[in-house]
C-alpha cells in the first residue's frame, strides 16, 4: 500500500549530503566572451532560443530562462556627452543563485525542486508537473517553465542544475570550466567566500571604490534568502545588474498574510453566529 503510493508518486530516499559547492563570479575578471553561455547550452543541449538583436549593447540574450541558464550582461556606463574618460563597460555572467533559503524550492508543491547533496537547488524533471509556482516565487527571475507545447522538455520548470551530472563525475561545471579568465570560480562555498573577501580587499586597495560582494552570509541581501551559493563580486550597486537590493523570501511574510485571511474568516463566522443567533 505505502510502497504502491511511493511508486505512483516516485518517491526516493535522498543521497547523503556533502560539502556545499557553488560559484564565486568575480565580475572584475569578466571579459564578456560568453563562453560560459555557450558551454552551458552545449553541455545541457539547450536549444538556441531566438535570433533577434536587442540593441542593448552586446547582450542579445536578455535574461535567464527555461533554455538559457547562463546570461552575460553588458552594462555600458559613460556620463552623457562627457569626454568619456569615466567610461566603463561592465560585464557579468548571471546564473541561478542556488539560494540557501530558496524561494522556488519552498514554493514547489510536488517536491520536484530539491536541495542536492552538493547544497544546490535542483529540478527533478520526472517529478515536476509544471504548476508554475516556482516561477514568480524566485526573487531573481531565474527559473521558468518551458512552453507547454514547445519541443524542449515541454511544460516543466528549468534552470541551472549546477551541472549535477558533471559533479557526479567529479567534473567542474561546464561554464566555470570554459571561463578563460577565472571570472567564474567553482568550489566549496565556504572556501570561495574567504577568497571573495580577500579579493574585495585587493580591489578596494586598488581604488575600486564601488566594488562590493553580493550574496555573502554577512550581506544584508542574505537576510531573507540566506547566503547565495552562487554569489558575485560587483563593480556597482546590485540594481545596476538587475539584482534586488534585499531579495525577499515569501515564507517570511506568509504567516502574517494567513493571519489576515484567518481573521476575516473567523470574523465572518462570528457575525454569522450573531445574525442567525439573534431571534
Amino acid at each position: 500500500m505505502i510502497d504502491g503510493y511511493k511508486r505512483l508518486m516516485n518517491v526516493e530516499p535522498p543521497p547523503a549530503p556533502e560539502k556545499a559547492k557553488g560559484f564565486f563570479t568575480d565580475t572584475s575578471l569578466c571579459i564578456g566572451c560568453k563562453a560560459c553561455e555557450v558551454a552551458c547550452k552545449q553541455w545541457n543541449q539547450l536549444p538556441a532560443d531566438g535570433f533577434a538583436m536587442t540593441g542593448n549593447s552586446y547582450d542579445n540574450t536578455g535574461k535567464l530562462g527555461a533554455t538559457t541558464w547562463r546570461h552575460v550582461q553588458f552594462i555600458e556606463q559613460a556620463k552623457a556627452n562627457s569626454n568619456r574618460q569615466d567610461q566603463r563597460w561592465l560585464m557579468m555572467s548571471d546564473v541561478c543563485k542556488h539560494c540557501a533559503n530558496a524561494a522556488c524550492l519552498e514554493a514547489c508543491p510536488t517536491g520536484s525542486l530539491v536541495r542536492t547533496e552538493y547544497g544546490s537547488v535542483y529540478v527533478q524533471q520526472d517529478i515536476c508537473n509544471g504548476c508554475g509556482f516556482c516561477v514568480p516565487a524566485c526573487p531573481f527571475g531565474v527559473i521558468d517553465r518551458a512552453p507547454k507545447h514547445g519541443e524542449f522538455e515541454a511544460g516543466t520548470a528549468h534552470k541551472c542544475t549546477l551541472c549535477y551530472d558533471r559533479l557526479k563525475d567529479d567534473m567542474t561545471p561546464a561554464c566555470a570550466k570554459s571561463c578563460p579568465t577565472a571570472s567564474i570560480q567553482f568550489g566549496d562555498v565556504d572556501e570561495l567566500q574567504d577568497r571573495a573577501r580577500r579579493r574585495l580587499g585587493e580591489l578596494k586597495a586598488r581604488g575600486e571604490t564601488k566594488a562590493q560582494l553580493y550574496g555573502m552570509p554577512e550581506g544584508e541581501e542574505a537576510s531573507e534568502v540566506g547566503p547565495l551559493h552562487a554569489f558575485f563580486l560587483l563593480l556597482d550597486k546590485p540594481q545596476a545588474y538587475n539584482l534586488p537590493e534585499v531579495p525577499r523570501l515569501p515564507r517570511k511574510t506568509m504567516g502574517q498574510r494567513y493571519g489576515w485571511s484567518a481573521a476575516v474568516g473567523v470574523g465572518f463566522a462570528l457575525v454569522g453566529a450573531l445574525v442567525f443567533g439573534r431571534r
Binding site: G65, G111, I127, F133, Y241, E245, W260, G265, A269
Partner: protein, 315 residues
C-alpha cells in the same frame, strides 16, 4: 550613471519572471471561493439559525458541491504537465500554499459532496439504497470539518499569490484577507440568491442579506487596506487596461452596489425585498469574479515593472 538606455536597473528588463498561469486560475479562485462561502454560510445557519434559516441555507450545500466540481479540472488544465497532477499529493508540504491548497481541495470536495448528498436524502431528492447510504452521513460533523476546510480553501488563494515576488501580489499584507472576504461575500450571496428565488420568509432573507452585507463591508475594508499598502505598485490595477473592470466591476458591483441595494432593502418586504436581494447578490458574485480576474491579470503585468520590483525589495 545607469546602463545605456535603462533607468536604475539593467535596461528595462524585468527583475522577476512573469507568471505562466492563465485564466483557469482566477476562474478556480472564484468558484472555489464561492463554494467555500456557500458551505460556511449554510453551516452557520444549520448551527445557529431557525428552522426556516436552516431550510433556506441548506441549498448552500448543493451550491458548494456544484461549484467545486469544475475546480480540480481547472487546476489540472493549468499545469504544464497535467498528467502529473497527482504529484501535488506526493508530499504533504503546508509550507507551500499550493500544496496546502491541493490537499484542502482534495479533502473539501468529498466532504461538500457528501453533505450535499445527505441534504438530498433528507429532502427526499435522493431515494433508494443511495439515499439510505447518504442518510448515514454524520451531518453535524461534516458541517464543522467542512466549514474549517472551506475557510482554508477560501483563505489560501490570496496568500498563494502573495507568496510570490510579483510586486502587486506580494506588497500588501491583506491580499489573503481580501480574497477570503470576497469568497465569503460571493458565497453568502449565492445562498441569498437561491433563497430569494425559493421565496423564503422575509426574516430569513433579511438575515442572509445582513450576513452578506457584513462580508461586503469586510471586503471593502480589505480592498482599502490593499490599495493603501500597495501604493504605486498597484498602478496596473488602478490605472490602465484593468482600471475599468476593477473600479466598476470589483469595487462598484462587488462591494458598493450590494451595500446600497441592501440598504434600500432594509425594512422592505415581499417581492421588493426579494428582487433587491437578488440584484445585490448577483452584483456581489460578479464583482468577486472581476476582483480575482483583475488582480490576477494586473499582477502579471506588474511582474514586468522593474521599478516596482526594486521598490518591493528595497531596504
Amino acid at each position: 550613471m545607469g546602463a545605456q538606455g535603462g533607468g536604475e536597473g539593467y535596461y528595462d528588463y524585468p527583475v522577476v519572471r512573469r507568471p505562466v498561469w492563465t485564466w483557469e486560475v482566477p476562474a478556480y479562485f472564484w468558484l472555489g471561493g464561492m463554494a467555500a462561502g456557500a458551505y460556511v454560510t449554510a453551516s452557520l445557519a444549520q448551527k445557529f439559525g431557525s428552522v426556516d434559516d436552516q431550510r433556506a441555507a441548506a441549498d448552500g450545500y448543493y451550491l458548494a458541491a456544484a461549484a467545486l466540481v469544475p475546480c480540480a479540472p481547472l487546476l489540472i488544465a493549468d499545469l504544464g504537465r497535467p498528467e502529473r497532477f497527482h504529484h501535488m499529493l506526493r508530499i504533504f508540504k503546508p509550507l507551500s500554499p499550493m500544496n496546502l491548497g491541493a490537499w484542502t481541495l482534495t479533502a473539501f470536495t468529498p466532504v461538500a459532496v457528501a453533505r450535499a448528498a445527505r441534504q438530498a436524502a433528507d429532502g427526499g431528492l435522493l431515494r433508494g439504497p443511495l439515499g439510505a447510504l447518504a442518510r448515514l452521513v454524520p451531518a453535524a460533523l461534516l458541517e464543522l470539518v467542512g466549514s474549517v476546510l472551506g475557510l482554508a480553501l477560501g483563505g489560501y488563494t490570496g496568500v498563494l499569490l502573495a507568496a510570490t515576488n510579483v510586486p502587486m501580489w506580494a506588497k500588501s499584507k491583506v491580499l489573503g484577507g481580501l480574497f477570503m472576504a470576497s469568497a465569503l461575500s460571493s458565497g453568502s450571496a449565492a445562498v441569498t440568491l437561491q433563497a430569494a428565488r425559493r421565496g423564503v420568509p422575509d426574516a430569513t432573507l433579511h438575515r442572509l442579506a445582513t450576513l452578506e452585507a457584513a462580508a461586503s463591508v469586510g471586503e471593502m475594508a480589505m480592498l482599502g487596506g490593499y490599495l493603501m499598502q500597495s501604493g504605486k505598485t498597484a498602478r496596473p490595477l488602478t490605472a490602465g487596461r484593468f482600471a475599468a473592470p476593477f473600479w466598476l466591476g470589483a469595487v462598484g458591483a462587488g462591494t458598493l452596489l450590494p451595500l446600497v441595494l441592501h440598504g434600500f432593502a432594509g425594512r422592505r418586504r415581499g417581492r421588493m425585498l426579494r428582487s433587491l436581494s437578488t440584484a445585490a447578490a448577483v452584483c456581489s458574485m460578479a464583482g468577486s469574479l472581476a476582483l480575482r480576474w483583475t488582480i490576477f491579470e494586473a499582477g502579471k503585468a506588474s511582474s514586468e515593472d522593474q521599478a516596482a520590483s526594486f521598490d518591493l525589495s528595497s531596504r
